[in-house]
């Protein structure tokens, strides 16, 4: 039998975090305050790749590793656009992804926000003006925030999210 009191009173068996990155902690706590105030404690993000080189996806995935562990700030990545507050778009929008990109955005409930992550999503990057892409995400969707970088680091993505939350709070 597990004694309920011992669960509360006994020292917890946990490990130290591998590193404590003050920069991330600071950005993260700021994010948490904004999310608590504006979104009632949590935001749901849907990631949409419209033609990236996969580096941006890797960095967004890294936000979930133990170094960043962004769920503790109230951010979750969700499997369906129907559950999402924020659409995180990576890559220039290719012709082959245009319809899927519009459908994904349309499936999200309002109010909704769009973030472009990476140089290609911001303005088409090196692919701007070529036959296969339409351009940055803003050519197809209403973009609220751009996070440049090739690809942006996880910390830069967090800072971008913080900026979006502040902007959303003012609306």
């Amino acid at each position: 039998m597990v004694n309920a009191f011992s669960c509360v009173l006994k020292a917890k068996v946990t490990e130290e975090k591998p590193v404590r990155d003050e920069e991330i902690e600071q950005v993260g706590q700021g994010l948490k305050r904004e999310i608590d105030a504006v979104f009632g404690g949590s935001i749901a993000i849907r990631e949409l790749d419209t033609g990236s080189d996969n580096a941006a996806e890797i960095e967004i995935n890294n936000l979930n590793n133990a170094f960043y562990d962004i769920e503790r700030f109230g951010i979750t990545f969700v499997a369906s656009p129907r559950h999402a507050d924020v659409l995180m778009v990576t890559g220039a929008v290719t012709h082959n992804m245009e319809i899927a990109a519009r459908k994904t955005y349309d499936a999200m409930p309002s109010p909704k926000f769009v973030i472009a992550v990476g140089d290609d999503a911001c303005d088409g990057g090196i692919f701007a003006g070529t036959y296969a892409v339409i351009g940055g995400a803003d050519k197809v969707l209403p973009v609220d925030m751009k996070i440049p970088g090739n690809p942006p680091t996880p910390t830069q993505i967090l800072e971008g999210l913080l900026a979006l939350m502040r902007k959303a709070g003012k609306k």
Binding site: P18, D49, A55, S80, M97, G129, N150
Partner: protein, 526 residues
């Protein structure tokens, strides 16, 4: 193993010599052999190559190649490190070889979309990288088309929708998945035909991310084009940049300093380590074993941070450049890297032990997603995926480049071809890559990392072993500018293996099978 002192090209001479004059074989800058072939000779040579077990590793088109106007097809074959390229002039239409070399099917569809070359007798003539919204008769890789935005159809008429293969029978139903998937992952469409939970057939549709990489490269200077090579696939940035630079250097007869090759090899192996670590973490996520997954993700994040310290980029971008490296790395920094890898190795072993002694993981991994050895040659399956199915293929061993002849990797070959074998092969390769890097750091020569030799015109084909397997780069420079850059990544070939690997498995095992093959969508879609 005794070193093979024979030039692999001799083997090609011997075989071709049985039906054609060997005087017609032209040696390229990287020891690849070109043979211009007439329509009459094509069939006999092809059946000869097929019986002598050559593998079709690439088929692509180049206009006005070797002074012959119009589209020319370059059929690229490999056997035991020797590369033979048949150059075939395109008459109005050409015969398909997909019934003899199945890996040709995607290549032929690619040539059709890009250049408008029609293949008679092809069993699949659907469009490949140009999806439904692209206009008819549009062939972007033709020289007559100047790269500029084009008008596409705003919507798809139901009659024009992509026709998936029909699988019918009692109790068979379809599960369409994608292009937008549930996870943080690249887009692609999977059409499952299932009976209950069991996958009866899978058809994949890719190229949603077609960004026009090859056309984008044209007209750029080799220095500028490195960025395009890096953008082929983010986690293969070093491999694709190196393959491209190696080609430019071979064409221009540039001998890069030894130190630069040591450094490039360190970066290439670091890329293999972070790619394999991410892959293994993903496989563990997909069998719901977060304890192992989070350990490997932590190690991977540390490798990314180490990459940033080394090069300023977490993906090691912007370092490899034609002629060597754009920056040197201090000796002390390299020693720190060696110490970092030493403790990484220890912690990796602990994590690996936990994973491999967990019954629930082994239960999901073993006998899942088997790739039979018989598929390796016809589909040109490559890299760790092939090595987990008994294939003795590794460009670093079979056709060593840079300094791999002096620092050969330890081949780890398994036979079962299941998810567990692929996981185990990758584990061995991580340890081996760490070992190679540490040995390189211990004996890296001093000196510069850059040569300043002008780039000259010409063409060549290079092969490189990326984390995912053999990547091919064909570079043709004309008037100092890129005339044609063809890149074929390992993923382009290995994607076709997944349709076979999943048959008879249950749908819930699809993610782990997919992850175990570690396929890049970007590297395939270009």
């Amino acid at each position: 193993m005794t070193p093979n002192l024979r030039d692999p090209a001799d083997h090609v001479n011997e075989i071709i010599g049985t039906i054609l004059s060997v005087d017609r074989l032209v040696k390229g800058c990287t020891n690849e052999i070109y043979l211009r072939i007439t329509e009459d000779e094509f069939e006999p040579v092809l059946s000869l190559l097929s019986t002598r077990k050559f593998v079709l590793i690439g088929l692509f088109c180049a206009e006005d190649f070797m002074e012959v106007p119009g589209p020319n097809l370059l059929y690229t074959f490999e056997k035991k490190g020797a590369v033979l390229i048949l150059v075939r002039e395109v008459a109005r239409s050409v015969s398909s070889i997909a019934t003899v070399f199945p890996s040709a099917s995607w290549f032929e569809r690619e040539c059709r979309d890009g250049f408008g070359v029609e293949f008679t007798g092809a069993f699949d003539t659907r469009r490949l990288f140009l999806h439904e919204t692209y206009p008819e008769g549009f062939h972007p890789l033709k020289k007559s088309f100047r790269n500029a935005p084009i008008a596409t159809k705003p919507s798809i008429d139901p009659a024009d929708e992509y026709p998936f293969r029909k699988v019918t029978g009692e109790g068979v139903y379809q599960v369409p998945v994608g292009p937008v998937h549930a996870g943080i992952i690249e887009p692609g469409h999977f059409r499952f035909s299932v009976i209950g939970e069991t996958i009866f057939n899978l058809e994949i549709r890719m190229f949603y991310k077609h960004r026009g990489i090859e056309k984008l490269a044209e007209g750029k200077t080799p220095d500028d084009c490195v960025r395009v090579a890096e953008a082929v696939s983010g986690d293969e940035s070093v491999a694709n940049a190196t393959a491209f630079c190696m080609a430019v250097e071979k064409i221009s007869r540039i001998q890069i300093p030894d130190r630069a090759w040591y450094m490039r090899t360190i970066l290439l192996e670091m890329e293999r380590v972070h790619s394999h670590l991410g892959d293994q973490a993903g496989m563990l996520v997909d069998v719901a074993f977060p304890l192992g997954a989070s350990q490997f993700s932590v190690l991977r994040e540390e490798v990314f941070r180490e990459n940033e310290h080394l090069s300023g980029s977490r993906f090691l971008r912007g370092v490899v450049t034609p002629g060597g490296l754009s920056k040197d790395i201090r000796k002390e920094r390299l020693y720190e890297l060696s110490r970092f890898l030493e403790q990484l190795k220890k912690r990796y072993k602990i994590g690996l032990k936990i994973v491999l002694s967990t019954a629930s993981v082994i239960d999901r991994f073993a006998t899942t997603g088997v790739i039979r050895p018989a598929l390796l040659r016809p589909l040109n399956i490559t890299g760790p995926t092939a090595r987990a199915s008994g294939g003795k293929v590794d460009v670093r061993v079979n056709c060593p480049y840079g300094i791999y002849a002096e620092y050969p990797p330890k081949p780890s070959i398994l036979k079962d071809g299941d998810v567990l074998s692929r996981f185990t092969v990758k584990a061995a390769e991580i340890m081996d890559s760490i070992d190679i890097i540490q040995r390189l750091i211990a004996s890296i020569p001093e000196g510069t990392v850059m040569t300043d030799t002008p780039v000259t015109d010409g063409y060549t084909l290079t092969l490189i072993e990326s984390a995912r397997g053999e990547n091919l780069a064909f570079v043709w420079i004309r008037d100092g500018k890129i005339e044609r850059y063809k890149v074929r990544t390992a993923s382009f070939c290995n994607w076709q293996a997944i349709e076979h690997a999943v048959q008879g498995n249950i749908v819930p095992d699809f993610p782990v099978i997919n992850k175990s093959l570690n396929l890049s969508y970007a590297g395939t879609d270009l």
